[in-house]
Symmetry: C2
DNA sequence: TTTAGCTTGTGAAGAAATTCACAAGATCGT
DNA sequence: ACGATCTTGTGAATTTCTTCACAAGCTAAA
């Protein structure tokens, strides 16, 4: 399969969100132009993005909202439940454990892990907090798909190494550090400080 | 000034982080190659990124670590304190209010605002929670630079409109929605669900 | 059935970002 | 002082991403 750019996948994700809004409002078709307006892009971009995966529209009409959402969910791999573990039962880990947006999309949080014995054994919003020493055994048994890394920055790489060794192939990192992983492991970093610095740059350069 | 790409600014932010590590370890010079290795990019990319702003290196030697960090901080606008307010004193707002990473970088959180009267008047980790009705008056007085939006998705656009009307020119949005703002207002969105969907896509496409 | 009016799907063109490649400047050891 | 060895800074080449532009397909109305 042709390589799909990251930016394309992000836009597909955005389109799906609008489609769900449209579905909720009972609209049955949508044009690439309308989708583009919502997503802050162009209609040609929308059509090009979709064209990598097939032809879903009807000329003269647009796209069927339920059909296109279904196809986008398939493309994005959202047709199934993904099993997630959280590494680091701290403040941001707690906020994420709470977060309904994840569960709604089919991301099921199995457990949190922490190295602090005081946190182990407690619950984080109904999610058990386990000792990090159990990780490898638990992963072999429960086969989580995705690790969310919310440990302090200086422990992030070693934590990633740990989950990679345990066999997990995808991680979402919240520590403000560039992480290094083998090629068959996908790591995405959410770096809030970087975003704020982008705003700072924008403010001083106008 | 030539328009600087978003991706360039993000990389500068990453370089600065490594430089601070290097500084802490007492190293005095660094090459574009080393910087590239840390940041997962190429040395040519590093040099090109820096070249938009001047020539900071010494041929044959590399870059002076303290000098380059200083310059990067200047470029990114981190030479000053930025005043930040949080809109939505919920779970993610609380985690951010706590977050030391912001303060360390010169982002000072003045206050949080919420529409829920039960939250107003309390403290969120030492930060006062104020009624949203006071926003416009407070902004006129305290002149915050950046609004962090952590309200539910369906209130995000109206909240952005509110802070824009009050005169704020930059916002960091955590709600999973595409926001629309006038051209002179910079909005960055941190969309965690989108990142997770990117992982999902990567997992099914291998 | 024909025509008018939309909107898709997609090559081709254009723009933007990245990588190449090398001259030029700096250091170091002899 | 000279040659060997680095590493920067930057045009040019290349690759990647976006936008253009239009033929082709679908609908609805006459
Ligand atoms: N709080 C925020 O809003 C926020 C925002 C952006 C990024 N972050 C980043 O997220 C990370 C966590 O931040 P936080 O505010 O939640 O910090 P925190 O101190 O509240 O939580 C960190 C948790 O990780 C645990 N931990 C430490 N080392 C560990 C290890 N080796 N293995 C397992 N668990 C370990 C600690 O016991 C603690 O419970 C940091 O890297 C931070 O920079 C936080
Ligand atoms: N919790 C997470 O980890 C997480 C992660 C990613 C994104 N988000 C997003 O962040 C936002 C907040 O999530 P949360 O989990 O903190 O929810 P929350 O319900 O804990 O907090 C939302 C807060 O906003 C306040 N609020 C509601 N409408 C408001 C308005 N019009 N003006 C001012 N305040 C208002 C509420 O009173 C509440 O205190 C949501 O959009 C969510 O999708 C949350």
């Amino acid at each position: 399969m042709k390589r799909i750019a990251d930016s394309t996948v992000r836009r597909l994700s955005a389109y799906l969100r609008f489609l769900e809004d449209f579905e909720a409002r009972g609209l049955s078709t949508i044009s690439s132009d309308e989708l583009a307006r919502q997503g802050g892009t162009t209609s040609a971009q929308v059509r090009k993005d979709l064209s990598f995966f097939g032809s879903f529209g009807k000329r003269g009409l647009g796209y069927s909202v339920p059909e296109l959402s279904t196809r986008l969910r398939e493309i994005l791999g959202l047709g199934r439940e993904w099993r997630v573990i959280i590494l680091g039962a701290g403040k941001i880990g707690a906020a994420l454990a709470h977060y309904e947006g994840f569960r709604q999309r089919g991301f099921q949080i199995l457990a949190a892990y922490d190295s602090n014995p005081e946190k182990v054994g407690r619950k984080l919003e109904g999610i058990p907090v386990r000792g990090i020493a159990h990780l490898e055994r638990d992963v072999a048994k429960e086969k989580p798909d995705i690790a969310v890394i919310t440990v302090p920055a200086d422990a992030a790489q070693q934590t990633l190494d740990l989950v990679v060794r345990a066999g997990i192939k995808a991680a979402l990192n919240f520590a403000p550090t560039q992480l290094h992983a083998p090629a068959d492991v996908t790591v995405k970093t959410v770096n809030m400080a970087m975003e704020l610095e982008g705003l700072s740059f924008a403010l001083v350069n106008r």
